[in-house]
Assembly symmetry: C2
Homo-oligomer: 361 residues x 2
């Protein structure tokens, strides 16, 4: 699995860093999932090695502009090189449907593919107390490429199940922010181990269709009457990876109940520890807060992102008086040592069960 | 007056060229007007010398994404350095109000300044025949920073008057495109000539308040009973400049009735002459079409913009097999000679009555 950071800044984009957008490429499925889509994401996508036509799902953590204003443009541009037959599935908080309908509707943007929007219904705890009403969508505004989607409600544990198929599940929990915000937990299912051909031979299983049936989990009966099952001839199952992609948050403790021992946590760290109060007030986390969360979750690796533009990217030469993302990294390292790193625009990480390898462009 | 091109591409942005956004800086008023606001405009604005806090009016030619998807983000970012007391006035086609309300509403973007939206109501000729309905805005969705705006209807000549004050008028005419699209005609009013002090003295006008009254257009009576008026002591009036900023168009002939002898025409030229049919079908112009319009209008200068991304910017080194904006420039020059040039991202032109000077960054 490859994780590419297309935008790693909070609040607004600048020439040196774009706003939130993270892509996960599943090498085994040949598909790309996007998480958040701030303004300029489509330009970053072009600068990356990712193929826009491979985007099959888009997840929006929350509807702040730095996470969603690039979505209509991305859909339009991806559409130009993408006559995919399967719809693109889009997940996000309630309101996303109308935002997309209105943006694509008034701009009269017909797409080359269909899409489905699944809205997560927030719970009372997530709603800001004092906001103005926004127009409610009506059926009049359905986009010609829109297929019926769903409204996802949380279960009694306060977990939203976005999808669950035979390769993975995606769940969401709410995290504390100024508007309803979510963290997504992607859990790949374990895959059966490899067929150990020597064992098959020694047990007398004839090469052919039986191999496939055993691999698929079946117990087969040999001509001699002996039964052979997966446990006899399959190696260790390949554990699925667990990755968490969080939205903006000043408290992500809901993750504790569903994301223990994750392989990778991608979480914001907007301002340094010294700005704790301002940071929390604005609904954000400091490196200390994020690193402590990672420690409690016992994650293998933490990648921090969503840095205030006041911090220059790690790879820049810092001039006198300038601040760097290094400040944030050092603060998190005090708690996590080597198991934390900072994202940078257009940086790709390859995650396996053994390693997290950074590839810079 | 300075004209800065922030984005000069059609359809979608790439790392080498942003989509439509043009800024006019009025040196005498110390204010900046934006025309269109494609995705990434706010990043381009940061790269320019323009001060975001000086933006007082925004004009949107039409609601296609490459002209409007950068508007919500621009408003949010400008808001951070702009606690202006006067509202920002936004002009554009019907639908703009709801697009802004929904974008800023769901993203819960409160601004540091107020804004007013004036929508231009299109006429039947502008409406595409076969489009899906988009939600109609209700009063529920009014943004907290929104002040009451207007719906501007055209007069019997099919001219929309956006504004008219003592420094200038802005009118609009419709131009042919796939969605309602407009061209804006900015006409600065003539300013009175300078007081010629020698003449004042020889006529016996005593230095003091009378100077100002004459300059303001009044005829004054001297103690001796002689009358002295502006015509006696003022130099040549300073003619106001006339600038036309067009939206996407495959036919801008409506300009012929209001924009004769303009000082500057900014008009799209999306594809080369050889692509005439495709170009017109998509609602766009070729250099030939645009240059012929400029000739009929008898404009002093034409600046072409909105080039397909297939044409690399003028200043780039073209590799084998690549096309350049130069192709488009040469085609227009065949008709207009030296009085045409091509815009490039972040290029600024200074327009006076005598010259149009290019300043590249
Ligand atoms: Zn954010
Ligand atoms: Zn946020
Ligand atoms: Zn356009
Ligand atoms: Zn257009």
């Amino acid at each position: 699995m490859d994780v590419t950071f297309l935008g790693t800044a909070s609040a607004y984009p600048t020439p040196s860093r774009c706003v939130s957008c993270t892509a996960i490429r599943f090498t085994n499925k040949d598909s790309v999932w996007m998480f958040d889509c701030g303004e300029g994401s489509q330009i970053q996508l072009m600068k990356s090695n990712l193929k826009p036509g491979k985007i099959s799902k888009i997840f929006i953590t929350h509807l702040h502009g730095d996470h969603v204003f690039g979505l209509p443009g991305l859909l339009c541009t991806v559409s130009q090189n993408n006559q995919r037959s399967e719809p693109v599935e889009i997940y996000g908080p309630l309101g996303l449907r109308n935002y997309i309908r209105v943006s694509l509707g008034y701009s009269r943007s017909e797409l080359g593919f269909n899409f489905v929007i699944h809205e997560m219904e927030p719970i009372k705890q997530q709603l800001p107390p004092d906001t103005w009403a926004v127009d409610t969508p009506t059926e009049a505004g359905v986009h010609p490429n829109e297929q019926p989607g769903s409204v996802i409600k949380c279960d009694e544990r306060h977990v939203w199940t976005c999808l669950s198929d035979n390769s993975c599940t995606v769940e969401a929990v709410w995290i504390k922010h100024r508007v309803p915000s979510f963290a997504f937990i992607i859990k790949e299912r374990d895959r059966p181990g490899r067929l150990e051909v020597e064992k098959l031979k020694s047990l007398g299983v004839p090469p052919g269709p039986m191999y496939g049936r055993i691999k698929a989990g079946e117990t087969v009966t040999l001509p001699c009457g002996k039964e052979v099952g997966p446990q006899d001839v399959l190696g260790e199952p390949q554990k699925g990876l667990v990755v968490v992609v969080g939205g903006d948050s000043s408290d992500s403790s809901e993750l504790l109940k569903v994301a223990q021992n994750a392989d990778l946590l991608i979480h914001e760290a907007t301002l340094e520890n010294a700005c704790h109060e301002t940071c929390v007030e604005r609904g954000h986390s400091t490196p200390k807060m994020t690193a402590e969360l990672a420690k409690k979750l016992n994650v293998r690796q933490l990648i921090m992102t969503h840095f205030s533009q006041r911090y220059r990217p790690l790879s820049y030469d810092i001039k006198e008086g300038e601040q760097s993302v290094r400040t944030l990294l050092l603060e998190a390292q005090e708690i996590l040592g080597d198991s934390v790193t900072c994202a940078e625009d257009l940086m790709t990480f390859t995650l396996t069960h053994e390693t997290l390898t950074k590839l810079c462009r």
